[in-house]
């Protein structure tokens, strides 16, 4: 087995991206994701890769768009305000059906907000974000190990479905240091006959474009893209269940909120409250089925979020409001303490007496 090293979440994403064959990084520094760019700045020149600090987030995402068109693995990273700036470019990448990785290490918002961790870009990440009908595959790591592992997954899924993917982390995931076993370097083997690589006068030109002059054609492309999304929803959902077997309450939480929830669950179970966790690892596609099935056995759901309550809407929709969903949240850069989650559970237990 490979040796463990101590890494920050941001560094783990950078190193894992390099090991997944990414040699093109374009970005612009912003707290709390800056170590990712700093790591790329140090490493890329040594391995024949490109690190480029663009003049803005808008430039960086358009550079990503350009490299993505050539079929090479490419990424950018930022934090909430910076990711908002990138939305136009992300929409173009989605509209041109290109693979690319966008990392959002979220901070408190809206506006300039603050530099402490947050999950309040859930809507932006999972519902499209930019203009037009599209989705990103959104992965939500809950440990530094997953920051590394899901980076490789994100690149593979982007290639497989020819679409942009996003790692939606938060400031704590980016900053926390944990031991990691880094994935082995590998060479991605994915045919990309659509890539702009030079025709050598042997084939027709490949054209990268998101503009359609005939509305019927644009509609056709949109319908086809949503057929693809359906396949993804059927095949690529990832989640973790924790102590759900006999659970009477189900916490739904991702990222750092899921880590805190596990602490709360252990403490609550010691007090006799039967509670479990469903942790979405893919936020889109959202693990609807497992939540829907859980609704048949639990009394209620609690959505634990570092936002004013965004994922809670998907928890309600997933189980067609069969069971009530309560929110346990902190916002503006604050993290819920296990005690706050336990208090919520005790309140529900009391209500059932």
């Amino acid at each position: 087995m490979a040796e463990k090293v101590l890494m920050k979440g941001n560094e783990a994403i950078a190193e894992a991206a390099i090991r997944a064959g990414c040699r093109h990084y374009f970005g612009y520094p912003i707290t709390p994701q800056t170590e990712l760019a700093a790591y790329m700045a140090k490493r890329m020149p040594k391995i024949g890769g490109v690190f480029l600090q663009a003049e803005s987030e808008v430039s960086a995402i358009n550079m990503v768009y350009g490299v993505a068109g050539t079929g090479l693995r490419v990424m950018t990273s930022s934090s909430s305000p910076g990711v908002s700036l990138k939305q136009e470019g992300i929409s173009y990448i989605a509209g041109a059906d290109l693979p690319a990785l966008i990392v959002n290490v979220q901070r408190g918002g809206p506006g300039l907000g603050g530099i402490q961790p947050s999950q309040s870009d859930y809507f932006q990440a999972t519902k499209g974000g930019g203009h037009g009908d599209y989705h990103l595959i959104v992965l939500a790591p809950a440990s530094v190990q997953e920051m590394a592992d899901l980076t490789a997954t994100a690149f593979d899924l982007a290639d497989k479905y020819r679409m942009p993917t996003m790692i939606l982390a938060d400031g704590t995931m980016g900053q926390m240091m944990e031991p990691v076993v880094l994935p082995e370097p590998y060479e991605a083997k994915s045919e990309k006959p659509w890539a702009v690589t030079g025709t050598k006068c042997e084939r027709e030109h490949n054209i990268i474009n998101s503009l359609y002059l005939v509305p019927e054609e644009l509609e056709k492309v949109n319908f086809a893209r949503f057929e693809k999304y359906k396949t993804i929803e059927e095949n690529e959902v990832m989640y973790e269940e924790y102590m759900m077997d006999d659970a009477e309450y189900c916490i739904v939480a991702f990222g750092i909120a899921a880590r805190v929830s596990k602490n709360a669950i252990n403490a609550a179970r010691a007090k006799g409250i039967k509670v479990g966790l469903i942790r979405p690892i893919t936020l889109w596609p959202f693990p609807k089925d497992v939540i829907n099935k859980a609704a048949d056995k639990v009394k209620a759901f609690i959505s634990v979020e570092l936002s004013m309550g965004q994922m809670i809407e998907d928890v309600k929709l997933a189980q067609e409001c069969k069971k009530p969903v309560y929110l346990c949240n902190r916002a503006g850069g604050m993290i819920p303490e296990p005690e706050e989650i336990i208090a919520k559970l005790e309140e529900l237990e009391g209500g059932n007496d």
């Binding site: 101590l6 920050k8 707290t31 490493r43 907000g113 530099i115 944990e178 031991p179 880590r259 602490n263």
Partner: protein
């Protein structure tokens, strides 16, 4: 492991996340135990998280003053240092522990205080090494970081500390197997290995000489 006659100024510099802040805090407490009048200055302008200020309560209770950037631990990510840092390098009556930011980028801020420290010439500039970090796995890589920091901070290193660890997963053998790397770095640089630092429970189990047992500062509760 701390000299009974320590230099007036002790500086800790090294790679990002090598453990400088934890060592600085624990070193300051150890100096205080020797009966010294101690001030800690946080010169990290590159990382707005994990600061000496996280240990403010403990240090203040022991009578150790902390000087940190005015906006440390707030939402303001403003890379500015307070004027009172000059007092730390100019007032020679107190022992000073300086926590420098990571890598060469973090050490640039030290440059403006370097002339005072060099003129007084009563300092220990310590390189903190964690050989279990991905960009300083070998003595050669660590030596390269040392040279970059010296160029940025304008103060030559005078000693090395081995703080190799895997966070809360650290086993004593993880630390012990890095001892040979620390000794090699000592040869490469011609500088003494001052001590090996480790979390106090790990430290107890180490068979190495000169170990600084550390209480780690905690910002959050332990998450599983």
């Amino acid at each position: 492991m701390i000299s009974l006659n320590p230099k007036r100024v002790t500086l800790f510099a090294g790679h990002y996340g090598s453990g400088k802040t934890n060592i600085a805090v624990n070193y300051a407490l150890a100096l205080k135990d020797l009966g010294k009048n101690v001030v800690v200055a946080d010169l990290d302008i590159v990382n707005p998280y994990f600061r000496t200020k996280d240990s403010a309560k403990e240090l203040n209770e022991k009578g150790i003053e902390i000087i940190s950037p005015e906006f440390a631990n707030t939402n303001v990510d403003l890379p500015a240092l307070p004027a009172s840092v000059y007092g730390v390098v100019q007032n020679r009556l107190r022992h000073a522990v300086l926590d420098i930011g990571g890598d060469d980028r973090g050490a640039y801020a030290l440059g403006r205080y370097a002339p005072y420290i060099m003129e007084e010439n009563d300092f220990e500039m310590i390189f903190v090494a964690n050989f279990l970090r991905p960009l300083t796995r070998t003595p050669e890589e660590a030596f390269e970081v040392m040279k970059e920091i010296e160029q940025a901070g304008h103060i030559p290193f005078t000693a090395i500390v081995n703080n190799s660890n895997l966070g809360k997963d650290t086993e004593p053998e993880d630390v012990e197997k890095t001892d040979i790397l620390a000794k090699r770095l000592s040869e490469l640089s011609g500088l003494p290995l001052l001590f090996t630092s480790a979390e106090e429970n790990v430290a107890k189990q180490l068979t190495l000489n000169n170990v600084l047992p550390m209480k780690l500062q905690k910002k959050y509760f332990d998450i599983i």
